[in-house]
Amino acid sequence: MLGQLAQTGAALAWAVAALAVIAAFVVLARAALARWRQGRQFRLRVRAEDALKHVYKARAAGERPTLESMAGSMQVSVNRAAQTVAGLQKADLLTLGEEGMRLTPSGERYALNVIRAHRLWEQHLAEKTGVAENEWHRRAERQEHLITPEQADSISAGLGHPTHDPHGDPIPGPRGDFPPMSDQLLSSLEPGRWARITHIEDEPEEIFAQIRAMGLAPGMQLRLLAKDPRRLRCWCDGEDHVLAPIVAANLTVQPLAEPAAAGEAARPLLLSHLEPGRRGRVVRLSPRCRGAERRRLMDLGILPGTVVRSELRSPTGGLTAYRVRDTLIALREEQAAQIQIEPLAEPAS
């Protein structure tokens, strides 16, 4: 009697389990299908937006976009590019005339929105996260298709309406406006001139990585020391750099009128090189130091003009305590290397 009951129970349990498996399968399959459809739609939109961006950037650079150049930059076949262009034409975002592809006003607006989203997101990653620099572009390439114009506005507000992204590219305003340009390539700068880096082209990636490895960043001031057809030598942020001309052509700079205007005719010292017991006055924080890290230093009162005295070294190294505004603050070596100072003589005791 008891055995029979147990058998029936077991059979019932198996039946329920089988039903559950079937139900789970149906639910999962439906979800997968929906996700696949969504993903397809998203991929189509990404392709269309990348095509608009390509046409916009080519026109802005004074070039003539072709299906081949578009296919190349988007890494798809020419056929795919042609399909995408046809779709854009139908949506009245792009016209195909005598002189090649052109954006309609609404197409241009659309392209600028995507560029705005891209650059705002790079700025967001630079300021609000600790994501490594070589990942900014790749992440923004994806995010630019997900951010709506309204979200872009709120990101912009959250960042204090930045005008430039971390590479120095201007971020289009909500009306698609751009700043007046007065910049030139570093490769065309006269030797001996001072300039401020305004932009570092982030493509191709190898050259960008090389420039990053040198520690150059937009906002830094540099002086071109010598130039010949094979290399350029410049001084920037306390260090000498040697660049190949092809690398220098990826740097855009804004010439500064006078070396005096640069405010650093003398080569400043880095705080990390200040010997214990010596004092210095902060000249500025390196532009390489950004986001939360920069705000933290400024919150601690480390600003241009602040007098800093090196006091203690950690016995295990890597850390030094500085007297800043009557407070003892320990900074790591790589942080202190972001602070440029001019050495001060000891006060007479």
């Binding site: 609000k128 996260t129 600790g130 994501v131 490594a132 990942e135 204090g160 309406h161 930045p162 005008t163 430039h164 201007p170 305003g173 009306r175 406006d177 700043p179 007046p180 906002g219 986001g291 939360a292 890290e293 933290r296 230093l297 400024m298 601690l300 009162g301 600003l303 241009p304 003009g305 006091e311 203690l312 070294r313 950690s314 016995p315 295990t316 190294g317 890597g318 850390l319 305590a321 407070t327 003892l328 603050i329 320990a330 900074l331 790591r332 942080q335």
Partner: protein, 478 residues
């Protein structure tokens, strides 16, 4: 009119927009600079300073000593060794006093009282053998060490010494991707992991704070020291000649604690390079001036903010766990208690890990506090082996005064040297107690990170125990 107003508005906005480009990116920084300049001017006008600097600056002299290359680290080791010694030795007496009061006297009295009142047996078991005994146990084991350790620690903190420890050790933590102040939260974790997690508030960089929170569990806490000491002296100290036994077991326990520190650094290194890449990270460490410690402040902070707070949380979790422990041992399904079914179910897994089903079940149901793991293990061992004459019956946790008796019970439960070693390892490397987990959730506000905090050490503990067990058996040692 309105259309003219409209166009004027558009014009102003467009003008503002074009002017924005001319402000420059440094605009916000200029603002900060001018605020500081204003503040400095006001301060200069309002604050009078003594003219000459004193010839002897005490702060500087102390700093020179405690951060010196030669004396800094030895001094620190000495100071902390002293703190731990005072805690471990000093906590023994009040612990024994509390245990004799709460467990040896009050407990039988409560049982008799309840029986005299005619309460049903299940209610007496659940309420007194389960809930009361678990909470009494937690109080008597947990309270004294915390009430000694935290005031000492707070004393060093209030005096201003602790930031110097972070300063001395930062390089070690920097290489692990962590913050020097993690040295302090780790140290606090030796007292209690929940308090250590709360202490991570001193780390103001979000990424490093999370790292400190997730790895605090590797600090061997108060609740686990007694387990380590007991098992080390029963299984490893016994291997050494008698005159060395105490020294050997002490060395083994210290070794386990150091292994925890090493694992904590390794886990920090791992987390900072995987799950926590891309979180915001900044560093700053203020070294405040030294000052005479304020006694009232120290007692309030250490006893109310830390000890009482943690104890309360532990009790809240221990009470229901006591009920669960009693129920598991007393609810019978078919012809055995629930505990025996669970133990048989867990035994194969336990075997692969070089442990046994009893230990796994004990860690499962004694999750509120590591303090009650050993009593639960003893109770469950007696329950499954049906030993007679030991302990207080099903669901009643107990400990034995005589180590030889404890060893006899464990041997009856099938324990070998491998079981002892792996229990010590698993006691160090397993999920944090529920009090700590709840504190991690409160502090991080995220179930995800709470889950990581539980899963990471648990997985690591399983892996370590598994490898040790297999190697042990392969070498034929066990």
């Amino acid at each position: 009119m309105s259309s003219r107003g409209q166009s004027q508005r558009e014009e102003i906005l467009a003008c503002a927009q074009s002017l924005r480009w001319e402000l420059g990116a440094q605009f916000h920084e200029k603002l900060v600079e001018s605020i500081y300049a204003d503040a400095a001017r006001l301060a200069a006008r309002a604050v009078t300073r003594p003219g000459a600097t004193p010839r002897f600056d005490l702060d500087r002299a102390i700093d020179r000593l405690v951060t010196s290359r030669r004396w800094g680290i030895p001094l620190m080791v000495l100071l902390f060794a002293l703190v731990f010694w005072i805690t471990i030795v000093g906590a023994n007496y009040p612990s024994q006093f509390l245990a004799s009061l709460l467990v040896d006297r009050l407990y039988p009295w409560l049982r008799e009282g309840a029986a005299a009142l005619g309460l049903p047996a299940w209610l007496r078991g659940l309420g007194i053998d389960g809930v009361y005994l678990a909470t009494a146990w937690v109080v008597s084991v947990m309270l004294p060490p915390m009430a000694i350790f935290f005031p000492l620690f707070t004393f060093l903190e209030d005096f201003g010494y602790l930031p110097r420890v972070a300063f001395n050790l930062d390089n070690l933590f920097r290489r692990a991707g962590a913050h020097g102040k993690q040295a302090l939260t780790m140290m606090m974790g030796f007292g209690c992991n929940a308090a250590g997690v709360t202490a991570t508030r001193i780390i103001d960089s979000p990424r490093e704070r999370l790292i400190a929170m997730l790895t605090n569990n590797f600090s061997l806490c108060n609740g686990r020291w007694p387990t380590q000491i007991l098992i080390a002296s029963l299984f490893i100290g016994a291997l050494a000649p008698p005159y060395l036994a105490g020294l050997v077991s002490a060395a083994v326990v210290v070794g386990v604690a150091l292994l925890g520190v090493l694992l904590s650094l390794a886990a920090s290194w791992f987390l900072s390079r995987t799950a926590l890449r891309g979180e915001v990270s900044t560093f700053s460490l203020e070294l405040p001036p030294y000052r005479p410690p304020r006694l009232g402040q120290i007692i309030y902070t250490s006893l109310i903010d830390r000890t009482a707070f943690v104890l309360w949380r532990a009790l809240v979790f221990a009470a229901p766990a006591g009920a669960v422990i009693w129920l598991v041992a007393n609810v019978r399904v078919a012809d055995a208690s629930l505990a025996e079914h669970l133990i048989h179910f867990l035994d194969p897994l336990g075997f692969w890990l070089g442990l046994n089903g009893v230990i796994l079940l004990a860690y499962l149901i004694a999750i509120p506090a590591n303090e009650i793991v050993i009593p639960t293990v003893l109770m469950l061992t007696v329950l499954t082996t049906r030993l007679t004459g030991v302990g207080g019956g099903a669901g009643v946790m107990f400990e034995l005064d005589n180590p030889a008796d404890t060893l006899a019970v464990l041997r009856a439960g099938g324990w070998t040297l491998l079981t002892g070693v792996n229990l010590m390892l698993f006691s160090l490397i397993h999920n944090p107690c529920s009090t700590t987990l709840y504190t991690i959730y409160k502090e991080s506000g995220s179930w995800k990170w709470t889950g990581v905090a539980a899963a990471l050490p648990l997985a690591l503990g399983f892996a370590v125990c598994f490898v040790v067990a297999q190697a042990w058996r392969w070498l034929g040692a066990g």
